[in-house]
Symmetry: C4
Subunit: 284 residues, 4 copies
């Protein structure tokens, strides 16, 4: 029989780990449970479905709440640093996903129930976390991380641009044509510069349309900037990925990402993502 | 005279093959027939045209149905693996393109007739298949295939993002402003994040507009991700394409895609796509 | 005094050429004249301006018509191949820019006058032609030319995709929600896939919105394809541009596009676009 | 005690410089002050807030006006070339940010007050200027500068394209469907080609919708051009950035932008942006 310590370690490798068959199976089960619970929340929001299947949806809600409570308890139990887990981003989301359902027993309120549903949806972030372990998501993620400062500076510059365009339009068009305040005009500027273009607020004066046209062309031209940033980083990431894999026979690198044999000597290449990092690639 | 086996082989090379003059001519005829039949379906849907040219369009419908039936029969006949063809994606589309017209004789119904028209339009996929044989489409296609996992993970992440934004807006704006359910709010989030921006559902509260602005900026920034993925792969593909062509005189590669002579020794370069793969490039 | 032949040659180098000071001055005058005449046409279309300045605008119209007629005559006179010029794209536009104004004297009609205005606007294409002679436009142009087949195949694939999405929506949503015919539904699909999103036709059924969401995500993901194509070609073009310039001292290439001195030996670099191709770069 | 000359120099290094701790602190204070004053202007534009907190906002307005006046005076005083500063872009904006508030005492007018607010918002450009000193913004900025001619030629070509599309639609659709003049039709063409798509003016005739679809596809395909331009330049910039940093131990370059140790010999790398250019990177 397992000692409590052994059990804890085993549990840890299953719940937190992703490199054992049991750990992989746990992750697949967890993603499935999260997706079903999110679908249940989404269905609950449709009035015709809610009125007809209220009991079933209620049952599902409690089933997943209890399931996720048990999971949360086990995570706290087997984590080598329970306090660290509890205060981490995912620890808080795991708690927020279950806590409000219990609170709804004490303080019944329709508004609160709505927010509960939201917190359950937030658990979908966990799926994103698991995605991170696949080789492809890793390349995308590292590229985003590497370009985060450039993207941040770009978004900051966009905010300055939309503030100026919004203020201009507030003066030119004014409250008569829907530009009732600068924040609302900035909202219009964001809608325009990002090329979304709802059309809920549009310029009506000739001068306003000229400024709007300038805002559009600005947005159209500067979208190239984040694209350029990410492209440049991705090209580097993909090339690096290619360079880190070496043939065990001739020690040369530079293999294509889908190559199975060394292009220099023909020897079989070592497996990439699976063998050395045990990523749950098979999930997708 | 040809033996049945010889005839079958010849037919196969004409209908399925693309590397003989007869095969190329067949492909051009097939594309022309598909495009005309699709145009006929499109014209049929315009009421003023349908009421005036009902007879002519009906004749065309039956003409192409019979033509495509013969083609389907010949494909089944000459294919070395008829069952494999019949159950393939294109085999099914070829069947679905003709079957409903015959069914409409037995079960007359306006709704069914509409769906028949759709299935005929689906045959246009065949044109895409033939496009694949051109060198350029090949590069695009290989790039898409190579980046399919990255694109899939990207689209999956986008789905998670729009689910969260949609749920948030459902709580913030609520049914009064058109966000009647989470699926509808997710639809709004997709319209916004992809920068389509119909404007059929728009935020009306200040807080809702703030969240919408965040959704827009997110969409504006992350469109860079698929672009970066495809750019990176395309650059690799184009470079590889260049490296595979070697001068038959000096054995050196690295020629531009439109070069006709070796840039190292001036000898004429071997023809690229046509001579070794016999692609029907001349089609376009 | 010049012989007629000499005069012809001189005129040719001024009107058609761009590499002499006189030729450059002529091009600048021509662009100015075209832009003023286009602005006049644009102002004429504004009712309040037209009613107030009818006489002035009429005078400008006839002034430029006579000016462009003289230019057309001179081009015909000095061209070594007048028939070739007259039947070329720009020759036809030059004729169409002046002919309708004379025709309007014989057949007076408001509709015709509108079309006359349009033909005058088409002359703006000449500006594009002159842009071609600048180094930067050249790089952009060569990249577009090199990727024209890929872009064409991409646009063709987009047309097939919008035909399928349009036909689907025609069946799902139908005439009640504005999808009155397949061409109109294809128009909606183009509006959606290109992320323009007017919102004049929008899906109202749940299933229609699901298909629309798919169309949006498709458009959002495949916009990456032309971007990737052009990026890949531009990177090659810019690199090639850099490689063709050699230092006259040390014979090494690879200089940045804005370098004035050789980065290997410090010798002054030969001038790029101006000295060897005499492009009217100074125009911009 | 400091001599006036010494004081002037010290002040100059604090106010204009960014490389001393005092200079950095001043920049952070300045950005904070500008952002608060901009937020105050934005809040003032919201009627409900303006009516309730009129006194507080008025106080803040005067507080920042006096603060920025002192700053402007000090800049004039300590600048080695006061006239040069006063006539520079930022010198003019600094003056325009404070002058109108004083003018409003002499000529009271609601319209003038609005424009005053705008000029204060323009001061946000200063933040952009400070951003320039960070390494990342520098790379983005240099890429934009290097591609400015290509971007300009691209935007010019877009203007020609929208002029032609706008004129075409003015003739095809005409004033009945909202295309009341060519400038308004050009506004529509810009809305369409940039894929903004407000939907305030939309084509209603079949032929108009066909032209609109062409405009959309054009916009969808040519957005690739600026993206390609910036991507190509950014890739070059990032690579150059990497090549300029040399290990002080082994003299080799090519280090990743986030590397702290030489990848060839393991020696610690010299600090990048801070040590040699003293950019206020810590700001962000």
């Amino acid at each position: 029989m397992d000692t409590p310590e052994n059990l804890k370690e085993k549990l840890y490798s299953v719940i937190f780990g992703t490199d054992t068959p049991a750990g992989k199976r746990f992750d697949i089960l967890l993603i499935t449970a999260i997706l079903i619970s999110v679908v249940a929340v989404i269905l609950e929001s449709i009035e015709t479905i809610e009125s007809q299947y209220a009991f079933q949806l209620h049952t599902i809600e409690w089933f997943f709440t209890i399931l996720f409570t048990i999971e949360y308890g086990l995570r706290l139990y087997c984590s080598p640093n329970p306090r660290g887990y509890a205060t981490s981003f995912y620890g808080l989301i795991d708690l927020l996903a279950v806590l409000p359902t219990y609170l709804s027993l004490i303080i019944p309120s329709t508004n609160l129930l709505l927010i509960i549903r939201l917190f359950r949806v937030l658990r979908i972030f966990r799926v994103l976390k698991l995605l991170q372990y696949t080789g492809e998501a890793n390349i995308l993620w590292r590229s985003l991380i590497r370009s985060r400062r450039k993207i941040f500076i770009f978004l900051f510059s966009v905010l300055i641009i939309v503030t100026i365009f919004g203020s201009l339009m507030y003066i030119i068009e004014g409250p008569i044509f829907g530009f009732t305040s600068i924040p609302r005009s900035i909202y219009w500027a964001i809608v325009t510069v990002t090329t979304v273009g709802y059309g809920d607020i549009t310029p009506h004066t000739v001068f306003g349309q000229a400024i709007a046209a300038m805002a559009m062309l600005t947005g159209y031209a500067i979208i190239a900037v984040p694209t350029g940033i990410i492209s440049a980083e991705l090209i580097n990431e993909i090339n690096r990925d290619r360079l880190t894999l070496r043939c065990s026979n001739c020690e040369r690198s530079g293999h294509e990402s889908d190559a199975n044999f060394c292009k220099h000597c023909g020897a079989e290449l070592p497996e990439r993502n699976e063998s050395d990092t045990n990523h749950p690639e098979k999930l997708f």
